[in-house]
């Protein structure tokens, strides 16, 4: 016990004095959220638009006029056939496509509604908004920080030579692991709080579910991320390697967890692969609690998965940590 406390105290002191840690914990959520959040939230106006008017009637011309008057669409070209439309989309200088059918003209003469408009955003089919993205970014920030910070935690001591000294003391591997992990859990909570404050105050993200529940369930995500970091720290030989491995782990997290693309749309193999990424489960948790307001009873599976991750990674790391130099 005295040994765990000693390590804890030492880690806290070092954490407080390390500017990089400070920057990671406070600046990362601020900068990342503001950057990503705004990039996504900005309302799209003046979309360069190509019109393929197949009816060429008075009514269709009126309709088009009202579209351009709205300010959302700038008609930059009128296409004469599908080939031109496809080409315009391929070179990617147009994102909107408006198609009015000739039947419209007839419809107007009988009864309303005058137009049947179907908006189909081809490249953002789910209508992802800042609400949807901000909680997910929060998850990414936390896992990134936790993995990177712990990944270098043991390697750094190995590089500085302090690990050799530690190995000669009576400390047990699990005591070292616990002492090193607990302070970072606190750090994870500080970071998530900073990020939530930004999400709520800057992006008006409404928190529909229980904040307490969110904090409780976040614990498992933090421990899973720390487990991953500690595991990396155990196998990396140098800090550089630890960094590289962290990025190697982070990239699939961002791409496959459902942060960027919906998991349901993934090929089967990738879908199963994404089941081995803690962020996958946390996205369900944080989006569920913040956006849908659902509670623990709907998230049992996700929480269990994170718990299994944490336990397996921490136990494997502890067993793998030998009090020998290689």
């Amino acid at each position: 016990m005295s040994r765990i406390l000693s390590v804890l105290k030492k880690e806290f002191i070092q954490m407080r004095r390390d500017r990089l840690t400070f920057a990671l914990v406070f600046m990362m959520p601020l900068i990342q959220l503001l950057l990503f959040g705004y990039a996504i939230q900005t309302e799209v106006k003046h979309i360069p638009t190509i019109v393929f008017d197949q009816s060429l009637t008075n009514e269709s011309r009126e309709l088009l006029a009202s579209f351009s008057a709205s300010g959302y669409f700038d008609v930059i070209k009128t296409a004469k056939n599908y080939a031109e439309v496809n080409q315009a989309i391929a070179v990617a200088n147009s994102i909107g496509l408006l198609k009015s059918q000739e039947i419209l003209a007839q419809k107007v003469q009988f009864q309303g509604p005058p137009y049947d408009i179907r908006v189909r955003p081809w490249y953002n089919p789910d209508g992802i908004t800042a609400y949807f993205m901000v909680p997910a970014i929060l998850g990414i920030i936390v896992t990134m920080t936790m993995v990177i910070i712990t990944a270098v935690a043991i390697v750094r001591e190995r590089e500085r030579g302090t690990l050799e000294q530690l190995l000669v003391t009576p400390i047990k591997p699990y005591e070292l692991m616990i002492g090193k992990i607990l302070p970072y859990i606190a750090l994870g909570y500080i970071q998530i709080t900073v990020a939530l404050v930004v999400a709520v105050t800057v992006f008006d993200v409404p928190i529909k579910g229980s904040l307490l529940e969110l904090y409780l369930l976040t614990l498992f995500f933090i421990t899973a991320s720390l487990g991953l970091g500690i595991f990396i720290s155990n196998i990396a030989k140098t800090q550089m390697q630890a960094f590289q491995m962290s990025f190697f782990v982070m990239l699939p997290s961002i791409l496959l967890s459902g942060f960027m693309f919906p998991r349901d749309a993934m090929p089967q193999f990738i879908y199963y692969l994404s089941a081995f990424i803690p962020l996958t489960y946390y996205l369900d948790i944080i989006r569920g609690i913040i956006l849908k307001g659902i509670g623990f009873q709907y998230l049992v599976g996700q929480v269990t998965a994170l718990l299994v991750f944490s336990i397996v990674l921490l136990i494997v790391s502890t067993l793998k940590f030998k009090k020998k130099i290689v």
């Binding site: 005295s2 030492k10 070092q14 003391t169 009576p170 400390i171």
Partner: protein, 306 residues
Amino acid sequence: MDYAISVHDLTKVFGSFTAVDRLSLNIKPGEICGFLGPNGAGKTTAIRMLCGILTPTSGFGQILGYDLIKESEKIKPHIGYMSQKFSLYDDLTVEENLSFYAGLYSLPNSERKNRIKEMITMAQLTSREDEVVANLSGGWKQRLALGCAIIGRPSIVFLDEPTSGVSPTSRRDFFTIIQKLANQGTTVIVTTHFMDEAERCNRIAFISAGQLLAMDTPDNLKQSAVEGFMVELDLPQAIDQIDRIEQQLYVRECSLHGPLLHVLLDNESNVKELEELVGKSARPITPTLEDVFIALAKKKRKQVVR
């Protein structure tokens, strides 16, 4: 328990390279044992095995009555170690470093404060307790590292080149502390490249190319380790004469010690020949530790060449 350290045929092989070759040692409690040997001799590797942080390829032994291989974790509460590489936490203060190790060695809370104060006094760091270690200079750091190594009152301390890169005064202070420790019953294993420090050890283990070449008191080593008859010569431009003297068949060794030459002859009867050669009188001397060191290292090299 007769010996603090008793190991037999400890061997460490890295790949195809044997860093430590069948090392056997018996060291009594309270003894100061110096490990002496050229760079790469295997001193650090030997100490790491004795501390239980490097598994020997073969060999066995006991440290404080515990089995070196099977009970290495039981040994750890009773030993202190100062690694060759500086290994304190640079970003912690003097006091925080000591307090960290006091915790790791589970010192009872009641005596922790006193023990830390004791270490600070011992390391002559009073009034610098709150200074970050990064700001301390060599000698202070080294004494603090010693403080961290012995704060748990170990029965054995292993000091791997504790005084490299430290001023002569600091070195002397440091060795005085070591001697005090030994007087209180602590066994001390210390590696060094300095002959004056070696002189202050109870026994010296000469290690070269992984092998223990000799182990004895400094006096015995000087008497017996060098085979031949040693004389001292005071010549002008001594350095230019070495080659000429070494070419003589009856000369085994010739080396420069300050302004003087030490010449090792086959036997006493060669003195006359040497005096005729250089035209000066030669004074018989007991070899210094350095002579012993040179002779042993050279002997080893010849064996390897053969």
